[in-house]
């Protein structure tokens, strides 16, 4: 992913900052600027999530995505944050310890980098709470 494309969502990725619709009360992470329920009537503001959540579902990836070859096997999961929204992330830890419903907490981790000399991407992964 290009540097500006990553950089412009850096705060959201580093600090789990998403959005909140003041009109209906729904929370969004990844952030959305248009509430799907209220649409133009919605009032969107930034919101920093606590990061506490639980595993909705997960998989152990053996055939890696491009750029993740050195990480296999890795655990990819959908995590539901306590405020409601769900996100796709990695769970750091042993695959055999994973289970649906497991409580998790956020950790700041390297996600990858562009080539040998390119920018390093950081973001939020999760660990068993």
């Amino acid at each position: 992913m290009s540097v500006p494309r990553f950089w412009r969502k850096q705060i959201a990725r580093y600090n789990l900052v998403g959005t909140h619709c003041k009109q209906c009360g729904e929370y969004f992470y990844p952030p959305r600027n248009m509430c799907p329920s209220c649409r133009r009537e919605g009032e969107i503001e930034d919101f920093k999530f606590s990061g506490q959540g639980e595993v909705v579902t997960y998989t152990v990836i053996h055939a890696a995505a491009e750029g993740f070859e050195g990480q296999t096997p890795y655990v990819l999961a959908i995590v539901q944050l306590e405020e409601g929204p769900r996100l796709t992330t990695q769970i750091v830890g042993d695959a055999k310890d994973m289970s649906i419903g497991m409580k998790v907490s956020p950790v700041f981790r390297k996600l990858g980098q562009s080539g040998d000399r390119g920018m390093i991407y950081y973001g939020t992964k999760f660990v068993p709470a």
Binding site: T57, T59, T88
Partner: protein, 390 residues
């Protein structure tokens, strides 16, 4: 709105075709369909071509113009040609756009085609091109792959409904069983549940034999107003219903991980237009990009209760000769999955079945068939219903 019929069809062989180019494939399908319909190029009013990622697979955009050109329809006839893209649902959507253009009265004779040339790049590059159908910024960046996303659907389905790996595998086994009788199929070998379970793990719980392959291929159909279809063929196949629906791009934003709401809604829209229900359908081609996708599809389209898709598949209800034959072509798993072509190929399988030309995989007495084509992990779905009778 006018009724629409399919009057000509043609698939290329599906498989790894090192000696044939993107344009070779789509021209063969297009010319073959024109020949099957018994028309000439001058008759064609417009064309729609489904293609997911010419840009990434063959470094070529402007696909519509390329295809019109190499089909001999550009330089002298200047026939309008439009590319349609919705990831792996591109073919089904191109067909739907063709149906719209004939139904509206703007065009009479229309080509709807689909093409993908996926083996000109290494398989890692092909996988990352396919991954662009998911949310690059919020799924891809975390290391998500397509098998990974469907594996998370599978894990949830197992957790919620007790679906087993053996039940998932039975969809692949059945599709290989059907594929051996399809002359265009990429794989014509039979496989067993044991061989699926012993194949390497791609994304737990999905093994490589739970996954559809990387494929080169093209498919094309000719559409005409139903009122004049008999001028071209004795066996026109009528479009009775078409439905399309969107859902969130990312899997994590879905209402229910184990239901593709886009499939449910697209199916409902097609059923309503056709004034039919699941009980009226004699056979269906569903989007089995992974075995779990077939299980979800037959539930979402009303052929099995939610949670029972694995069981009915394992029990043989979706085999040829069963209650509702699913993927008689071999599906994406055995017939192959050239992503832009798949949605059109599904329609051709139904046409061949309803014409009674499906040979050893013929469903006896088939009169009404359905196709179901999905983009990404379920952000787009398109469903069509076809009938032998007007």
């Amino acid at each position: 709105m006018r009724e629409v019929a399919i009057i000509g069809v043609k698939n290329t062989i599906f498989g790894e075709q090192w000696d044939r180019s993107f344009r070779d494939l789509v021209v063969e399908a297009g010319v073959g369909a024109v020949k099957d319909a018994g028309i000439t190029g001058e008759k064609i009013d417009s064309m729609f071509v489904g293609n997911m990622s010419g840009g990434q697979f063959v470094e070529q955009e402007h696909i519509g113009a390329l295809i019109a050109d190499y089909s001999g329809l550009a330089k002298n006839l200047h026939i309008p040609s439009t590319r349609v893209e919705a990831a792996c649902a591109s073919g089904g959507l191109a067909l739907r756009q063709g149906i719209y253009s004939v139904a509206s009265g703007m065009d009479d004779i229309v080509i709807a085609a689909g093409v993908e040339k996926m083996t000109d790049v290494p398989s890692a590059k092909a996988s990352s091109a396919l991954a662009a159908a998911a949310d690059r910024e919020w799924e891809g960046i975390m290391g998500a792959t397509f098998p990974g996303l469907y594996a998370m659907i599978a894990r949830m389905h197992m957790h919620k409904y007790g679906t087993t790996s053996e039940q998932l595998a039975s969809a692949a086994v059945k599709n290989h069983q059907n594929g051996q009788f399809n002359p265009i199929a990429q794989y014509k070998n039979k496989i067993t549940i044991e061989s699926v379970l012993n194949s390497i793990m791609v994304a737990d719980p999905l093994h490589i034999f739970d996954c559809s392959p990387i494929t080169d291929g093209a498919s094309a159909v000719i559409l005409a107003p139903a009122d004049i279809a008999h001028e071209y063929t004795d066996t026109p196949i009528y479009v009775k219903g078409t439905g399309q629906a969107s859902d969130t791009l990312a899997l994590h934003d879905r209402r229910d991980i184990t239901t593709l709401d886009a499939s449910v809604v697209a199916g409902k829209r097609a059923y309503e237009m056709a004034r039919m229900g699941p009980e009226d359908i004699d056979l269906v081609e569903v989007h089995d990009c992974f075995t779990i996708a077939e299980i979800c599809a037959i539930e979402d389209l009303g052929f099995a209760k939610k949670g029972e898709g694995g069981k009915v598949t394992f029990d043989g209800e979706t085999a040829i000769g069963g209650r509702i034959p699913v993927n008689t072509s071999g599906g994406l798993k055995a017939c192959g999955h050239p992503v832009g072509a798949t949605g059109v190929k599904q329609a051709i399988e139904i046409v061949e079945q309803l014409r009674g030309e499906a040979g050893k995989r013929q469903v006896d007495g088939a009169e009404i068939g359905m196709t179901h084509n999905v983009g990404g992990s379920g952000a787009t779905a398109v469903v069509h219903i076809f009938s032998r009778n007007r």
